[in-house]
Amino acid sequence: MRHPWVERYAPLATTVLVLIAIWYIAAIAMNLSLVRDAFEREETAYTLTDLISGTLSAERPLLPAPHQVAAAVYDSVFGYPPLAPRSLVYHSLVTLTATLLGFVLGALLGIVLALMIVHSRVLERSLMPWIICSQMVPILALAPIFIVVLGALGLHGLLPKSIISAYLCFFPIAIGMVKGFTSSEPQQIELMRTWSATSRQMLWKLRWPSAVPYLFASLKVAITISLIGAIVAELPTGAEAGIGARLLAGSYYGQTIQIWAALVASAVLASGLIGIVGLVERGVARRMGAH
């Protein structure tokens, strides 16, 4: 019998190691012609080891090696004071505030819509198809004109980005909460009726508690969508700060390592936010009597 940790983490560790190995090989293969051209332009003699070490330390590689990305992330996180414009922490914070504000707005909107839909048959019939249709529209396509219009109205900075985030992330919450609010057992609803519970009592004592698992499931989906919304909203404005702005600047000036560092920052943000939601979920579940 193998140790359960081995059983659990050996496949994951192997896959990650294999992926990193593939990454190194790909980095060497993709940067090879670049480095060879550079050597031949300078007409210096070169050996195979020179070539390979060159591919792994090129300044503007097509694909930076993992250690270069790690070094760039470390450098831009710890190399500057946290609020300097070259620090990745600063840009992450800018995106994080927009994400969180949009997430809160979107969650409130989604929950309110779900409440309205659950309580009114008219709204369920007339609003629900349009909510679903609104998601068939690639809403990120709206981002640039949204920012232009809001800019013309004198709104800049944080709010337009958050509105786009909110517009993106209200949908999974609304759908999930409609499902959650209607997920209580018919028997329980009938029990509440025999106690002649008002619809408000029914909401607080039955519908909300049974909707909580659905709430957290959709919050986890929504928070990444909100982050995507904030990042994309930073693109068309040519915003001077934020992860999206770093991506755009990196792609304009060919700073591949900077793009990868920004991607790593967004990955860290996404997994951190999901982790926080998961922690809150566990805490709430414990308060509600789960084991």
């Binding site: 993709m30 249709c133 529209v137 068309p236």
Partner: protein, 373 residues
């Protein structure tokens, strides 16, 4: 709906029409509506609302709808008058309020109806959201033109529709560039690769246990951020968009297909083993059919993700065509009606794509409990 409330509502609507006939509808037209034809149409609508109020039952909806059509048509005709458009008076808004009120009553009335026959129920299920949407578009149109909102901020739906009709060739090339080349090719590659890797991971449990946590992790990442790198690798044309779309659609498909492949029950698996089925036989006869609902779930999620991925990738550089390229340049030139036409195009493409996937799902997984009710 309570007949007394219905009656009161329609009476209010008729009263608003009467007020509209008395109050000025524009700055220069003195009291009555500009032309006798419009005057008569509006008065007719008021009479229809009165009839609806008198009946106050399910049949009142038909009279209400007729009145809404007449009064709505009258307001749209009045907006052609340049004296009214942009500076509409109280009389004009009274008609709009009457239309809105009557439409709300009709929607409520229709939604409360519970016909016994299923085909009528189906018609009703389409009619209610259609009416709701038509009213929203009407209010948008009348509001934008009546208040004279500058078209730079928000064009009226009719202006966007006119732009859509007049620039069909441009829209067509954009559609081909973004949707046919970028989205469809990337979608096919991403979903196909995700499904293949899922089948491999299902065959070799070690691979599966390693890939599943990674797949979950990656499908939660903002992967559209990879777009600038793909543009750098594959150039400005459609291959880079297809690459972004493939990457964005790969992980949802992997995670869902993996869940679906392990969704078949123990009894079925034991049955396959007792038939001495080899792996490819049980794959094609048991695992894949059982995974179909999950695969279609991923296909539906990916249908929207793919379009978003392609449009965002175009923000980072394109040849001079494509939906995303057009949206960002026309927004920069403040040609907002063209932007809305492109958005309508993207919405139509997205809805059509999603609808096709949903139809295919219905045809393939007709045995699933959710379709057998």
């Amino acid at each position: 709906m309570d007949p007394r409330k219905l009656r009161l509502g329609f009476l209010f609507a008729a009263g608003a029409i009467v007020l509209a006939l008395l109050l000025p509808s524009g700055p220069r037209s003195p009291s009555l509506l500009p032309s006798p034809a419009i005057w008569q149409t509006t008065a007719c609508a008021g009479l229809l609302f009165l009839c609806a109020a008198w009946m106050a039952n399910a049949r009142a909806t038909a009279f209400g709808l007729a009145g809404i059509t007449l009064a709505g048509g009258a307001t749209l005709a009045m907006l052609r008058d340049p004296a009214i458009a942009g500076s509409a008076g109280t009389g004009f808004w009274m008609i709009v309020i009457a239309v809105w009120l009557a439409a709300a009553l009709c929607v409520v009335n229709l939604a409360a109806m519970r016909p016994l026959r299923t085909d009528r129920q189906n018609i009703l299920n389409i009619l209610v959201p259609l009416l709701f949407g038509a009213v929203v578009f009407y209010l948008w149109e009348v509001g934008v033109r009546g208040f004279g909102v500058p078209p730079v901020l928000l064009p009226s739906p009719s202006a966007a529709a006119a732009k859509f009709a007049s620039s069909l060739p441009t829209l067509c090339t954009d559609f081909v560039q973004t949707f046919v080349r970028g989205v469809l090719i990337g979608y096919a590659i991403g979903c196909g690769a995700g499904l293949l890797v899922a089948i491999l991971a299902h065959r070799y449990a070690f691979l599966g246990r390693g890939l599943l946590p990674l797949g979950n992790f990656f499908s939660a990442l903002p992967l559209v951020g990879i777009a600038p790198i793909m543009v750098m690798w594959f150039g400005f044309d459609w291959p880079s968009k297809a690459a972004v779309v493939a990457l964005v659609t790969f992980f949802p498909m992997l995670v869902n297909a993996l869940a679906g492949l392990s969704a078949s029950g123990h009894i079925e698996r034991d049955l396959m083993r007792s038939y001495a089925a080899n792996h490819s036989q049980s794959l094609s006869k048991l695992y894949l059919p059982a995974a179909m609902p999950f695969i279609f779930n991923a296909l539906k999620i990916n249908a929207t993700l793919a379009l978003i991925g392609a449009i965002v990738a175009e923000f980072f550089g394109t040849p001079t065509q494509g939906i995303g390229f057009r949206i960002s340049t026309e927004a920069g030139r403040m040609a907002i009606d063209m932007v809305w036409a492109e958005i309508a195009l993207a919405a139509l493409a997205g809805m059509g794509f999603y609808g096709l996937v949903a139809l295919a799902e219905r045809a393939t997984t007709f045995w699933h409990p959710s379709y057998r009710t």
